[in-house]
Symmetry: C2
Subunit: 328 residues, 2 copies
Protein backbone atom coordinates (compact mmCIF):
# COMPACT_ATOMS: atom_id res chain seq x y z
CA UNK A 1 0.00 0.00 0.00
CA UNK A 2 2.92 2.32 -0.67
CA UNK A 3 0.84 4.42 -3.03
CA UNK A 4 -1.30 5.47 -0.06
CA UNK A 5 1.42 7.79 1.12
CA UNK A 6 1.85 9.56 -2.17
CA UNK A 7 0.30 12.97 -2.52
CA UNK A 8 -1.61 11.72 -5.54
CA UNK A 9 -3.49 9.19 -3.53
CA UNK A 10 -5.23 11.66 -1.25
CA UNK A 11 -5.87 13.86 -4.26
CA UNK A 12 -7.54 10.88 -5.92
CA UNK A 13 -9.85 10.52 -2.95
CA UNK A 14 -10.69 14.22 -3.04
CA UNK A 15 -11.36 13.87 -6.76
CA UNK A 16 -13.89 11.17 -6.03
CA UNK A 17 -12.03 8.08 -7.22
CA UNK A 18 -14.07 5.12 -5.96
CA UNK A 19 -11.03 2.88 -6.18
CA UNK A 20 -8.97 5.22 -4.00
CA UNK A 21 -11.83 5.54 -1.53
CA UNK A 22 -12.28 1.79 -1.20
CA UNK A 23 -8.54 1.32 -0.78
CA UNK A 24 -8.36 4.03 1.88
CA UNK A 25 -11.18 2.35 3.78
CA UNK A 26 -9.37 -0.96 3.72
CA UNK A 27 -6.36 0.81 5.19
CA UNK A 28 -8.49 2.39 7.93
CA UNK A 29 -10.07 -0.99 8.68
CA UNK A 30 -6.76 -2.82 8.79
CA UNK A 31 -5.64 -3.88 12.23
CA UNK A 32 -1.92 -3.84 11.41
CA UNK A 33 0.03 -1.32 13.45
CA UNK A 34 1.96 0.04 10.47
CA UNK A 35 -1.34 0.62 8.67
CA UNK A 36 -2.57 2.62 11.64
CA UNK A 37 0.13 5.27 11.14
CA UNK A 38 -0.40 5.32 7.40
CA UNK A 39 -4.14 5.72 7.81
CA UNK A 40 -3.70 8.52 10.35
CA UNK A 41 -1.36 10.34 8.01
CA UNK A 42 -3.81 9.95 5.16
CA UNK A 43 -6.77 11.06 7.27
CA UNK A 44 -4.88 14.13 8.43
CA UNK A 45 -4.39 15.14 4.79
CA UNK A 46 -8.07 14.86 3.94
CA UNK A 47 -9.33 16.26 7.28
CA UNK A 48 -9.74 19.85 6.03
CA UNK A 49 -12.12 18.58 3.36
CA UNK A 50 -14.40 16.75 5.79
CA UNK A 51 -17.48 17.82 7.71
CA UNK A 52 -19.61 18.89 4.78
CA UNK A 53 -22.16 16.09 4.70
CA UNK A 54 -25.40 15.44 6.50
CA UNK A 55 -24.64 12.42 8.68
CA UNK A 56 -27.68 10.23 9.24
CA UNK A 57 -27.83 7.24 11.56
CA UNK A 58 -30.51 4.62 10.95
CA UNK A 59 -31.40 1.84 13.36
CA UNK A 60 -34.16 -0.75 13.53
CA UNK A 61 -34.68 -4.38 14.44
CA UNK A 62 -34.08 -7.07 11.85
CA UNK A 63 -37.22 -7.35 9.73
CA UNK A 64 -38.23 -3.71 10.04
CA UNK A 65 -37.22 -3.11 6.43
CA UNK A 66 -34.01 -1.11 6.83
CA UNK A 67 -32.38 -2.19 3.57
CA UNK A 68 -35.51 -1.55 1.54
CA UNK A 69 -36.04 1.88 3.05
CA UNK A 70 -32.39 2.88 2.76
CA UNK A 71 -32.36 1.82 -0.88
CA UNK A 72 -35.49 3.85 -1.74
CA UNK A 73 -34.25 6.80 0.31
CA UNK A 74 -30.83 6.64 -1.31
CA UNK A 75 -32.28 6.46 -4.82
CA UNK A 76 -34.49 9.46 -4.04
CA UNK A 77 -31.49 11.47 -2.85
CA UNK A 78 -29.56 10.60 -5.99
CA UNK A 79 -32.51 11.81 -8.05
CA UNK A 80 -32.19 15.11 -6.15
CA UNK A 81 -28.60 15.33 -7.32
CA UNK A 82 -26.99 14.13 -4.09
CA UNK A 83 -24.19 11.63 -3.62
CA UNK A 84 -24.95 9.03 -0.98
CA UNK A 85 -22.69 6.72 1.05
CA UNK A 86 -24.04 3.89 3.20
CA UNK A 87 -21.85 2.49 5.98
CA UNK A 88 -22.98 -0.34 8.21
CA UNK A 89 -22.09 -1.32 11.75
CA UNK A 90 -23.02 -4.87 12.54
CA UNK A 91 -21.98 -5.90 16.03
CA UNK A 92 -23.39 -9.40 15.59
CA UNK A 93 -21.02 -10.20 12.78
CA UNK A 94 -18.14 -10.54 15.19
CA UNK A 95 -19.95 -13.25 17.05
CA UNK A 96 -21.43 -15.18 14.17
CA UNK A 97 -18.41 -14.77 11.95
CA UNK A 98 -20.65 -13.68 9.10
CA UNK A 99 -22.12 -10.29 8.40
CA UNK A 100 -25.86 -9.83 8.19
CA UNK A 101 -25.43 -6.23 7.17
CA UNK A 102 -23.45 -4.32 4.63
CA UNK A 103 -24.07 -6.74 1.84
CA UNK A 104 -24.42 -5.03 -1.50
CA UNK A 105 -26.88 -7.73 -2.51
CA UNK A 106 -29.31 -6.18 -0.06
CA UNK A 107 -29.53 -2.97 -2.08
CA UNK A 108 -28.94 -4.04 -5.67
CA UNK A 109 -30.40 -0.96 -7.39
CA UNK A 110 -28.61 1.51 -5.12
CA UNK A 111 -25.34 -0.44 -5.45
CA UNK A 112 -25.47 0.04 -9.22
CA UNK A 113 -25.70 3.85 -8.96
CA UNK A 114 -22.53 5.77 -9.69
CA UNK A 115 -23.41 8.34 -7.03
CA UNK A 116 -23.87 5.75 -4.32
CA UNK A 117 -21.21 4.01 -2.28
CA UNK A 118 -22.13 1.06 -0.05
CA UNK A 119 -19.60 -0.29 2.39
CA UNK A 120 -20.02 -3.59 4.21
CA UNK A 121 -19.37 -3.47 7.93
CA UNK A 122 -15.78 -3.88 9.03
CA UNK A 123 -15.45 -7.33 10.51
CA UNK A 124 -13.46 -8.28 13.60
CA UNK A 125 -11.96 -6.06 16.26
CA UNK A 126 -13.38 -4.58 19.40
CA UNK A 127 -16.55 -2.51 19.45
CA UNK A 128 -14.61 0.67 20.01
CA UNK A 129 -12.50 -0.37 17.06
CA UNK A 130 -15.48 -0.87 14.77
CA UNK A 131 -16.93 2.49 15.78
CA UNK A 132 -13.61 4.27 15.27
CA UNK A 133 -13.25 2.74 11.85
CA UNK A 134 -16.79 3.67 10.87
CA UNK A 135 -16.13 7.27 11.89
CA UNK A 136 -12.95 7.38 9.89
CA UNK A 137 -14.69 5.84 6.87
CA UNK A 138 -17.30 8.56 7.24
CA UNK A 139 -14.57 11.21 7.04
CA UNK A 140 -13.17 9.54 3.91
CA UNK A 141 -16.62 9.60 2.29
CA UNK A 142 -16.95 13.29 3.10
CA UNK A 143 -13.57 14.02 1.57
CA UNK A 144 -14.69 12.10 -1.50
CA UNK A 145 -17.60 14.50 -1.83
CA UNK A 146 -20.56 12.49 -0.60
CA UNK A 147 -23.37 14.80 0.56
CA UNK A 148 -25.29 12.35 2.71
CA UNK A 149 -23.67 9.60 4.75
CA UNK A 150 -25.99 6.96 6.15
CA UNK A 151 -24.63 4.91 9.04
CA UNK A 152 -26.79 1.86 9.50
CA UNK A 153 -27.01 -0.45 12.51
CA UNK A 154 -29.25 -3.22 13.80
CA UNK A 155 -31.07 -2.28 16.97
CA UNK A 156 -29.17 -4.62 19.24
CA UNK A 157 -26.19 -4.28 21.52
CA UNK A 158 -24.73 -0.88 22.19
CA UNK A 159 -24.09 0.03 18.60
CA UNK A 160 -27.09 2.38 18.41
CA UNK A 161 -25.61 4.61 21.07
CA UNK A 162 -22.30 4.60 19.23
CA UNK A 163 -23.96 5.43 15.94
CA UNK A 164 -26.01 8.22 17.47
CA UNK A 165 -22.76 9.64 18.83
CA UNK A 166 -21.28 10.00 15.35
CA UNK A 167 -24.19 11.34 13.30
CA UNK A 168 -26.13 14.58 13.05
CA UNK A 169 -29.57 13.00 12.74
CA UNK A 170 -30.60 9.72 14.31
CA UNK A 171 -33.52 7.84 12.80
CA UNK A 172 -35.33 4.91 14.42
CA UNK A 173 -37.34 2.57 12.20
CA UNK A 174 -40.37 0.77 13.64
CA UNK A 175 -43.00 -1.61 12.32
CA UNK A 176 -46.64 -0.49 12.25
CA UNK A 177 -47.42 -2.60 15.27
CA UNK A 178 -48.73 -0.07 17.74
CA UNK A 179 -49.36 -2.66 20.42
CA UNK A 180 -45.80 -3.73 20.87
CA UNK A 181 -44.18 -0.43 21.53
CA UNK A 182 -40.61 -1.46 21.74
CA UNK A 183 -40.24 -4.11 19.07
CA UNK A 184 -36.82 -5.17 20.15
CA UNK A 185 -35.55 -1.61 20.29
CA UNK A 186 -33.84 -1.05 23.60
CA UNK A 187 -35.38 1.48 25.91
CA UNK A 188 -33.35 4.65 25.84
CA UNK A 189 -32.89 4.41 22.09
CA UNK A 190 -36.18 6.19 21.42
CA UNK A 191 -34.80 9.12 23.38
CA UNK A 192 -31.96 9.40 20.89
CA UNK A 193 -34.34 9.62 17.94
CA UNK A 194 -34.66 12.81 15.92
CA UNK A 195 -36.97 11.08 13.47
CA UNK A 196 -39.11 8.00 13.99
CA UNK A 197 -40.16 6.19 10.84
CA UNK A 198 -43.01 3.70 10.77
CA UNK A 199 -42.20 1.37 7.88
CA UNK A 200 -44.40 -0.89 5.76
CA UNK A 201 -47.34 1.47 5.85
CA UNK A 202 -49.08 -0.19 2.91
CA UNK A 203 -52.11 -2.35 2.17
CA UNK A 204 -53.86 -3.52 5.30
CA UNK A 205 -51.25 -1.85 7.53
CA UNK A 206 -51.98 1.75 6.56
CA UNK A 207 -54.39 2.40 9.42
CA UNK A 208 -52.22 0.52 11.90
CA UNK A 209 -49.23 2.60 10.85
CA UNK A 210 -51.22 5.80 11.28
CA UNK A 211 -52.30 4.68 14.74
CA UNK A 212 -48.69 3.87 15.61
CA UNK A 213 -47.62 7.26 14.34
CA UNK A 214 -50.05 9.03 16.65
CA UNK A 215 -49.04 6.91 19.64
CA UNK A 216 -45.34 7.49 19.15
CA UNK A 217 -45.90 11.17 18.56
CA UNK A 218 -47.58 11.58 21.91
CA UNK A 219 -45.03 9.29 23.61
CA UNK A 220 -42.16 11.38 22.25
CA UNK A 221 -43.76 14.49 23.70
CA UNK A 222 -43.18 13.05 27.15
CA UNK A 223 -39.47 12.69 26.57
CA UNK A 224 -36.79 15.22 27.29
CA UNK A 225 -35.86 17.24 24.24
CA UNK A 226 -32.54 16.11 22.80
CA UNK A 227 -32.05 19.40 21.00
CA UNK A 228 -33.27 22.81 21.86
CA UNK A 229 -35.20 23.76 18.74
CA UNK A 230 -36.16 20.36 17.35
CA UNK A 231 -39.14 18.25 18.29
CA UNK A 232 -38.75 14.66 17.01
CA UNK A 233 -41.09 13.84 14.14
CA UNK A 234 -42.87 10.59 13.42
CA UNK A 235 -43.48 9.65 9.78
CA UNK A 236 -45.03 6.71 7.98
CA UNK A 237 -43.42 5.24 4.87
CA UNK A 238 -43.91 2.42 2.44
CA UNK A 239 -40.78 1.44 0.59
CA UNK A 240 -42.59 -0.99 -1.73
CA UNK A 241 -45.12 1.67 -2.72
CA UNK A 242 -42.38 4.36 -2.58
CA UNK A 243 -44.64 6.39 -0.30
CA UNK A 244 -43.41 8.92 2.26
CA UNK A 245 -39.83 8.90 0.97
CA UNK A 246 -40.00 12.50 -0.20
CA UNK A 247 -41.52 13.56 3.13
CA UNK A 248 -38.72 11.74 4.89
CA UNK A 249 -36.10 13.74 3.04
CA UNK A 250 -38.03 16.95 3.70
CA UNK A 251 -38.03 16.13 7.42
CA UNK A 252 -34.27 15.48 7.31
CA UNK A 253 -33.76 18.80 5.61
CA UNK A 254 -35.96 20.62 8.13
CA UNK A 255 -33.87 19.05 10.88
CA UNK A 256 -30.69 20.23 9.21
CA UNK A 257 -32.02 23.77 8.79
CA UNK A 258 -33.21 23.94 12.41
CA UNK A 259 -29.85 22.65 13.51
CA UNK A 260 -28.02 25.32 11.58
CA UNK A 261 -30.39 28.05 12.72
CA UNK A 262 -30.43 27.02 16.36
CA UNK A 263 -26.73 26.11 16.20
CA UNK A 264 -27.31 22.74 17.86
CA UNK A 265 -25.72 20.77 15.02
CA UNK A 266 -22.38 22.49 15.36
CA UNK A 267 -22.47 22.12 19.12
CA UNK A 268 -23.36 18.43 18.77
CA UNK A 269 -20.44 17.78 16.43
CA UNK A 270 -18.08 19.53 18.79
CA UNK A 271 -19.33 17.39 21.66
CA UNK A 272 -19.13 14.22 19.54
CA UNK A 273 -15.52 14.90 18.59
CA UNK A 274 -14.48 15.30 22.23
CA UNK A 275 -16.38 12.13 23.15
CA UNK A 276 -14.70 10.33 20.30
CA UNK A 277 -11.25 11.35 21.52
CA UNK A 278 -11.97 10.08 25.01
CA UNK A 279 -13.46 6.82 23.77
CA UNK A 280 -10.38 6.02 21.73
CA UNK A 281 -8.15 7.14 24.54
CA UNK A 282 -9.80 4.82 27.04
CA UNK A 283 -9.98 1.94 24.61
CA UNK A 284 -6.28 2.28 23.82
CA UNK A 285 -5.34 2.72 27.46
CA UNK A 286 -6.95 -0.62 28.31
CA UNK A 287 -5.32 -2.27 25.32
CA UNK A 288 -1.93 -0.92 26.37
CA UNK A 289 -2.44 -2.04 29.95
CA UNK A 290 -3.49 -5.60 29.11
CA UNK A 291 -0.73 -5.83 26.53
CA UNK A 292 2.00 -4.59 28.89
CA UNK A 293 4.56 -7.32 29.45
CA UNK A 294 4.79 -6.74 33.19
CA UNK A 295 1.01 -6.98 33.45
CA UNK A 296 0.89 -10.06 31.23
CA UNK A 297 3.53 -11.69 33.43
CA UNK A 298 1.91 -11.08 36.82
CA UNK A 299 -1.82 -10.89 36.07
CA UNK A 300 -2.48 -14.67 36.21
CA UNK A 301 -0.89 -14.85 39.65
CA UNK A 302 -3.09 -12.03 40.98
CA UNK A 303 -6.15 -13.61 39.39
CA UNK A 304 -5.29 -16.84 41.17
CA UNK A 305 -4.86 -15.10 44.53
CA UNK A 306 -8.18 -13.31 44.12
CA UNK A 307 -9.88 -16.50 43.06
CA UNK A 308 -8.52 -18.37 46.07
CA UNK A 309 -9.71 -15.55 48.36
CA UNK A 310 -6.16 -14.76 49.43
CA UNK A 311 -6.41 -11.24 48.07
CA UNK A 312 -9.18 -8.73 47.48
CA UNK A 313 -9.81 -7.46 43.95
CA UNK A 314 -9.25 -3.84 44.96
CA UNK A 315 -5.83 -4.72 46.41
CA UNK A 316 -4.90 -6.80 43.38
CA UNK A 317 -5.92 -3.92 41.10
CA UNK A 318 -3.77 -1.57 43.16
CA UNK A 319 -0.71 -3.82 42.88
CA UNK A 320 -1.21 -4.41 39.16
CA UNK A 321 -1.42 -0.69 38.53
CA UNK A 322 1.74 -0.10 40.53
CA UNK A 323 3.53 -2.69 38.41
CA UNK A 324 2.20 -1.12 35.21
CA UNK A 325 3.43 2.29 36.28
CA UNK A 326 6.75 0.78 37.23
CA UNK A 327 6.59 2.19 40.72
CA UNK A 328 7.47 -0.86 42.71
CA UNK B 1 -10.78 4.82 63.31
CA UNK B 2 -7.66 3.39 64.89
CA UNK B 3 -9.64 0.62 66.53
CA UNK B 4 -10.40 -0.80 63.08
CA UNK B 5 -6.89 -2.15 62.84
CA UNK B 6 -6.96 -3.97 66.15
CA UNK B 7 -7.47 -7.70 66.08
CA UNK B 8 -10.49 -7.24 68.32
CA UNK B 9 -12.34 -5.23 65.77
CA UNK B 10 -12.53 -7.93 63.13
CA UNK B 11 -13.37 -10.43 65.86
CA UNK B 12 -16.26 -8.18 66.84
CA UNK B 13 -17.56 -8.28 63.29
CA UNK B 14 -17.28 -12.05 63.19
CA UNK B 15 -19.11 -12.18 66.52
CA UNK B 16 -21.95 -10.27 65.01
CA UNK B 17 -21.51 -6.86 66.62
CA UNK B 18 -23.84 -4.53 64.74
CA UNK B 19 -21.83 -1.54 65.85
CA UNK B 20 -18.61 -3.03 64.46
CA UNK B 21 -20.39 -3.99 61.22
CA UNK B 22 -21.80 -0.50 60.70
CA UNK B 23 -18.42 1.03 61.44
CA UNK B 24 -16.65 -1.29 59.02
CA UNK B 25 -19.15 -0.38 56.31
CA UNK B 26 -18.48 3.32 56.86
CA UNK B 27 -14.80 2.59 56.42
CA UNK B 28 -15.45 0.67 53.20
CA UNK B 29 -17.66 3.48 51.91
CA UNK B 30 -15.15 6.18 52.78
CA UNK B 31 -13.41 7.78 49.81
CA UNK B 32 -10.25 8.72 51.75
CA UNK B 33 -7.15 7.02 50.44
CA UNK B 34 -5.89 6.07 53.91
CA UNK B 35 -9.26 4.45 54.63
CA UNK B 36 -8.91 2.38 51.47
CA UNK B 37 -5.83 0.59 52.82
CA UNK B 38 -7.40 0.13 56.24
CA UNK B 39 -10.56 -1.29 54.72
CA UNK B 40 -8.60 -3.66 52.49
CA UNK B 41 -6.64 -4.90 55.50
CA UNK B 42 -9.83 -5.43 57.44
CA UNK B 43 -11.56 -7.18 54.56
CA UNK B 44 -8.59 -9.48 54.10
CA UNK B 45 -8.95 -10.57 57.72
CA UNK B 46 -12.63 -11.42 57.40
CA UNK B 47 -12.35 -12.87 53.87
CA UNK B 48 -12.03 -16.52 55.00
CA UNK B 49 -15.38 -16.17 56.78
CA UNK B 50 -17.26 -14.92 53.74
CA UNK B 51 -19.17 -16.67 50.99
CA UNK B 52 -21.67 -18.52 53.13
CA UNK B 53 -24.82 -16.58 52.36
CA UNK B 54 -27.41 -16.77 49.63
CA UNK B 55 -26.95 -13.51 47.72
CA UNK B 56 -30.19 -12.25 46.21
CA UNK B 57 -30.51 -9.26 43.88
CA UNK B 58 -33.89 -7.57 43.58
CA UNK B 59 -34.78 -4.99 40.96
CA UNK B 60 -37.98 -3.29 39.89
CA UNK B 61 -39.24 0.10 38.79
CA UNK B 62 -40.26 2.67 41.37
CA UNK B 63 -43.82 1.89 42.43
CA UNK B 64 -43.59 -1.85 41.91
CA UNK B 65 -43.58 -2.39 45.67
CA UNK B 66 -39.98 -3.36 46.30
CA UNK B 67 -39.77 -2.11 49.88
CA UNK B 68 -43.03 -3.75 50.88
CA UNK B 69 -42.06 -7.07 49.34
CA UNK B 70 -38.54 -7.02 50.76
CA UNK B 71 -39.92 -6.24 54.21
CA UNK B 72 -42.43 -9.14 54.10
CA UNK B 73 -39.84 -11.45 52.60
CA UNK B 74 -37.24 -10.45 55.19
CA UNK B 75 -39.66 -10.94 58.08
CA UNK B 76 -40.57 -14.37 56.70
CA UNK B 77 -36.89 -15.36 56.53
CA UNK B 78 -36.33 -14.20 60.10
CA UNK B 79 -39.27 -16.35 61.20
CA UNK B 80 -37.46 -19.27 59.56
CA UNK B 81 -34.50 -18.55 61.78
CA UNK B 82 -32.42 -16.70 59.18
CA UNK B 83 -30.45 -13.48 59.57
CA UNK B 84 -31.12 -11.02 56.75
CA UNK B 85 -29.15 -8.04 55.46
CA UNK B 86 -30.55 -5.55 52.93
CA UNK B 87 -28.12 -3.40 50.93
CA UNK B 88 -29.27 -0.87 48.37
CA UNK B 89 -27.69 0.56 45.26
CA UNK B 90 -29.31 3.74 44.14
CA UNK B 91 -27.65 5.27 41.11
CA UNK B 92 -30.05 8.19 41.09
CA UNK B 93 -28.94 9.36 44.50
CA UNK B 94 -25.69 10.64 43.08
CA UNK B 95 -27.53 12.91 40.75
CA UNK B 96 -30.29 14.18 42.99
CA UNK B 97 -28.09 14.41 46.04
CA UNK B 98 -30.72 12.57 48.06
CA UNK B 99 -31.29 8.86 48.35
CA UNK B 100 -34.62 7.37 47.37
CA UNK B 101 -33.52 3.96 48.56
CA UNK B 102 -31.95 2.50 51.64
CA UNK B 103 -34.06 4.50 54.01
CA UNK B 104 -34.88 2.52 57.12
CA UNK B 105 -38.21 4.31 57.25
CA UNK B 106 -39.24 2.32 54.20
CA UNK B 107 -39.11 -0.97 56.12
CA UNK B 108 -39.97 0.00 59.70
CA UNK B 109 -40.89 -3.49 60.94
CA UNK B 110 -37.86 -5.17 59.38
CA UNK B 111 -35.58 -2.41 60.66
CA UNK B 112 -36.67 -3.18 64.24
CA UNK B 113 -35.69 -6.86 63.99
CA UNK B 114 -32.46 -7.85 65.69
CA UNK B 115 -31.72 -10.38 62.94
CA UNK B 116 -32.09 -7.83 60.17
CA UNK B 117 -29.58 -5.24 59.02
CA UNK B 118 -30.61 -2.54 56.56
CA UNK B 119 -27.97 -0.35 54.99
CA UNK B 120 -28.75 2.83 53.06
CA UNK B 121 -27.03 3.13 49.71
CA UNK B 122 -23.55 4.58 49.75
CA UNK B 123 -23.76 8.08 48.38
CA UNK B 124 -21.32 9.75 46.02
CA UNK B 125 -18.51 8.25 44.03
CA UNK B 126 -18.38 6.67 40.63
CA UNK B 127 -20.66 3.83 39.62
CA UNK B 128 -17.81 1.35 39.78
CA UNK B 129 -17.11 2.77 43.21
CA UNK B 130 -20.65 2.23 44.45
CA UNK B 131 -20.71 -1.32 43.11
CA UNK B 132 -17.34 -2.10 44.66
CA UNK B 133 -18.48 -0.77 47.99
CA UNK B 134 -21.72 -2.73 47.87
CA UNK B 135 -19.78 -5.91 47.17
CA UNK B 136 -17.45 -5.26 50.06
CA UNK B 137 -20.39 -4.49 52.37
CA UNK B 138 -21.86 -7.82 51.28
CA UNK B 139 -18.66 -9.57 52.37
CA UNK B 140 -18.81 -7.81 55.72
CA UNK B 141 -22.42 -8.96 56.21
CA UNK B 142 -21.40 -12.52 55.41
CA UNK B 143 -18.57 -12.37 57.92
CA UNK B 144 -21.07 -11.07 60.46
CA UNK B 145 -23.10 -14.22 59.94
CA UNK B 146 -26.01 -13.05 57.81
CA UNK B 147 -27.53 -15.98 55.89
CA UNK B 148 -29.35 -14.05 53.21
CA UNK B 149 -28.07 -10.81 51.69
CA UNK B 150 -30.53 -8.85 49.60
CA UNK B 151 -29.03 -6.29 47.21
CA UNK B 152 -31.74 -3.95 46.04
CA UNK B 153 -31.71 -1.60 43.07
CA UNK B 154 -34.14 0.49 41.08
CA UNK B 155 -34.58 -0.70 37.52
CA UNK B 156 -32.86 2.22 35.88
CA UNK B 157 -29.37 2.85 34.60
CA UNK B 158 -26.85 0.09 34.51
CA UNK B 159 -27.09 -0.82 38.17
CA UNK B 160 -29.19 -3.95 37.49
CA UNK B 161 -26.39 -5.46 35.46
CA UNK B 162 -23.95 -4.63 38.21
CA UNK B 163 -26.19 -6.12 40.86
CA UNK B 164 -26.78 -9.28 38.85
CA UNK B 165 -23.01 -9.60 38.58
CA UNK B 166 -22.61 -9.77 42.36
CA UNK B 167 -25.48 -12.02 43.44
CA UNK B 168 -26.37 -15.70 43.16
CA UNK B 169 -30.03 -15.17 42.35
CA UNK B 170 -31.47 -12.23 40.47
CA UNK B 171 -35.11 -11.36 40.97
CA UNK B 172 -37.13 -8.96 38.81
CA UNK B 173 -40.32 -7.45 40.25
CA UNK B 174 -43.15 -6.49 37.92
CA UNK B 175 -46.63 -5.06 38.31
CA UNK B 176 -49.63 -7.18 37.31
CA UNK B 177 -50.05 -5.19 34.14
CA UNK B 178 -49.79 -7.83 31.46
CA UNK B 179 -50.29 -5.37 28.62
CA UNK B 180 -47.22 -3.30 29.27
CA UNK B 181 -44.57 -5.93 29.20
CA UNK B 182 -41.59 -3.88 30.07
CA UNK B 183 -42.82 -1.44 32.66
CA UNK B 184 -39.70 0.62 32.60
CA UNK B 185 -37.47 -2.42 33.00
CA UNK B 186 -34.76 -2.28 30.38
CA UNK B 187 -34.76 -5.01 27.81
CA UNK B 188 -31.97 -7.43 28.55
CA UNK B 189 -32.73 -7.29 32.25
CA UNK B 190 -35.42 -9.95 31.91
CA UNK B 191 -32.74 -12.24 30.55
CA UNK B 192 -30.81 -11.85 33.78
CA UNK B 193 -33.81 -12.94 35.88
CA UNK B 194 -33.77 -16.23 37.77
CA UNK B 195 -37.11 -15.40 39.35
CA UNK B 196 -39.79 -13.02 38.13
CA UNK B 197 -42.20 -11.81 40.77
CA UNK B 198 -45.56 -10.25 39.91
CA UNK B 199 -46.35 -7.98 42.85
CA UNK B 200 -49.65 -6.61 44.14
CA UNK B 201 -51.62 -9.70 43.21
CA UNK B 202 -54.53 -8.84 45.43
CA UNK B 203 -58.17 -7.69 45.18
CA UNK B 204 -59.16 -6.87 41.65
CA UNK B 205 -55.65 -7.55 40.34
CA UNK B 206 -55.53 -11.29 41.12
CA UNK B 207 -56.67 -12.40 37.66
CA UNK B 208 -54.51 -9.79 35.93
CA UNK B 209 -51.51 -11.00 37.89
CA UNK B 210 -52.24 -14.60 36.95
CA UNK B 211 -52.52 -13.60 33.30
CA UNK B 212 -49.21 -11.72 33.55
CA UNK B 213 -47.60 -14.74 35.19
CA UNK B 214 -48.62 -16.97 32.28
CA UNK B 215 -47.43 -14.46 29.70
CA UNK B 216 -44.05 -13.98 31.30
CA UNK B 217 -43.65 -17.70 31.78
CA UNK B 218 -44.06 -18.33 28.07
CA UNK B 219 -41.92 -15.30 27.18
CA UNK B 220 -39.10 -16.56 29.41
CA UNK B 221 -39.21 -19.90 27.62
CA UNK B 222 -38.07 -18.11 24.48
CA UNK B 223 -34.98 -16.75 26.15
CA UNK B 224 -31.58 -18.35 26.34
CA UNK B 225 -31.08 -20.24 29.57
CA UNK B 226 -28.83 -18.30 31.95
CA UNK B 227 -27.96 -21.43 33.88
CA UNK B 228 -27.81 -24.99 32.76
CA UNK B 229 -30.23 -26.65 35.17
CA UNK B 230 -32.50 -23.76 36.11
CA UNK B 231 -35.53 -22.53 34.25
CA UNK B 232 -36.61 -19.08 35.51
CA UNK B 233 -39.85 -19.17 37.52
CA UNK B 234 -42.62 -16.61 37.58
CA UNK B 235 -44.53 -16.14 40.84
CA UNK B 236 -47.34 -13.90 41.99
CA UNK B 237 -47.25 -12.26 45.41
CA UNK B 238 -49.24 -9.88 47.52
CA UNK B 239 -47.21 -8.17 50.22
CA UNK B 240 -50.27 -6.53 51.80
CA UNK B 241 -52.09 -9.87 52.05
CA UNK B 242 -48.78 -11.64 52.82
CA UNK B 243 -49.55 -14.07 49.98
CA UNK B 244 -46.94 -15.97 47.99
CA UNK B 245 -44.06 -15.00 50.30
CA UNK B 246 -43.52 -18.57 51.46
CA UNK B 247 -43.60 -19.80 47.83
CA UNK B 248 -41.07 -17.12 46.97
CA UNK B 249 -38.65 -18.41 49.58
CA UNK B 250 -39.29 -21.99 48.44
CA UNK B 251 -38.40 -20.96 44.89
CA UNK B 252 -35.21 -19.27 46.12
CA UNK B 253 -34.28 -22.42 47.98
CA UNK B 254 -34.99 -24.61 44.95
CA UNK B 255 -32.73 -22.33 42.93
CA UNK B 256 -30.01 -22.66 45.53
CA UNK B 257 -30.30 -26.45 45.60
CA UNK B 258 -30.25 -26.70 41.79
CA UNK B 259 -27.24 -24.44 41.75
CA UNK B 260 -25.36 -26.61 44.21
CA UNK B 261 -26.39 -29.81 42.46
CA UNK B 262 -25.64 -28.57 38.97
CA UNK B 263 -22.60 -26.66 40.23
CA UNK B 264 -23.60 -23.50 38.39
CA UNK B 265 -23.58 -21.35 41.54
CA UNK B 266 -19.95 -22.02 42.32
CA UNK B 267 -19.00 -21.44 38.69
CA UNK B 268 -20.99 -18.19 38.65
CA UNK B 269 -19.25 -16.90 41.77
CA UNK B 270 -15.87 -17.74 40.30
CA UNK B 271 -16.75 -15.86 37.14
CA UNK B 272 -18.14 -12.90 39.13
CA UNK B 273 -14.96 -12.58 41.18
CA UNK B 274 -12.80 -12.42 38.06
CA UNK B 275 -15.17 -9.90 36.50
CA UNK B 276 -15.03 -7.85 39.67
CA UNK B 277 -11.23 -7.76 39.61
CA UNK B 278 -11.21 -6.53 36.04
CA UNK B 279 -13.89 -3.92 36.64
CA UNK B 280 -11.95 -2.39 39.50
CA UNK B 281 -8.74 -2.64 37.56
CA UNK B 282 -10.15 -0.77 34.58
CA UNK B 283 -11.89 1.81 36.73
CA UNK B 284 -8.68 2.52 38.64
CA UNK B 285 -6.60 2.56 35.47
CA UNK B 286 -8.78 5.32 34.03
CA UNK B 287 -8.70 7.22 37.28
CA UNK B 288 -4.90 6.99 37.36
CA UNK B 289 -4.61 8.09 33.76
CA UNK B 290 -6.85 11.14 34.06
CA UNK B 291 -5.21 12.05 37.35
CA UNK B 292 -1.66 11.78 36.00
CA UNK B 293 0.03 15.16 36.08
CA UNK B 294 1.57 14.83 32.62
CA UNK B 295 -1.86 13.97 31.23
CA UNK B 296 -3.53 16.79 33.13
CA UNK B 297 -0.93 19.21 31.74
CA UNK B 298 -1.17 18.28 28.05
CA UNK B 299 -4.73 16.97 27.62
CA UNK B 300 -6.36 20.39 27.05
CA UNK B 301 -3.92 21.15 24.24
CA UNK B 302 -4.68 17.86 22.48
CA UNK B 303 -8.40 18.43 22.95
CA UNK B 304 -8.00 21.81 21.32
CA UNK B 305 -6.07 20.38 18.36
CA UNK B 306 -8.68 17.69 17.84
CA UNK B 307 -11.47 20.20 18.11
CA UNK B 308 -9.84 22.46 15.55
CA UNK B 309 -9.40 19.48 13.20
CA UNK B 310 -5.64 19.82 13.31
CA UNK B 311 -5.26 16.34 14.74
CA UNK B 312 -7.23 13.11 14.61
CA UNK B 313 -8.54 11.64 17.86
CA UNK B 314 -6.67 8.37 17.29
CA UNK B 315 -3.38 10.26 16.90
CA UNK B 316 -4.06 12.42 19.94
CA UNK B 317 -4.86 9.31 21.97
CA UNK B 318 -1.61 7.76 20.82
CA UNK B 319 0.41 10.80 21.89
CA UNK B 320 -1.35 11.08 25.23
CA UNK B 321 -0.66 7.44 26.00
CA UNK B 322 2.99 7.87 25.08
CA UNK B 323 3.21 10.79 27.50
CA UNK B 324 1.48 8.78 30.21
CA UNK B 325 3.90 5.93 29.74
CA UNK B 326 6.78 8.39 29.79
CA UNK B 327 8.13 7.13 26.51
CA UNK B 328 8.64 10.40 24.75
Amino acid sequence: MAEILTENFSVNILNGSRRALAKAMSLVESSRESDFFKSQELLLKILPKTGNSLRIGITGSPGVGKSTLIEEFGLHLIEQGKRVAVLAIDPSSRRSGGSILGDKVRMPRLAREHNAFIRPSPSGGALGGVARKTRECMLLCEAAGFDVIIVETVGVGQSETEVSSMVDLFMVLLLPNAGDEIQGIKRGIMELADLVVITKSDGEYVSKAEEARRRFKSALRLMLAKHNGWRPKVLTTSAVEAKGINDLWTACWEFYESGERQKFLKEQRRHQTMEWLHQILEHELLRTFYGDERVVRILPDFEKKVFEQKMLPARAAHELLKAFQNLQ
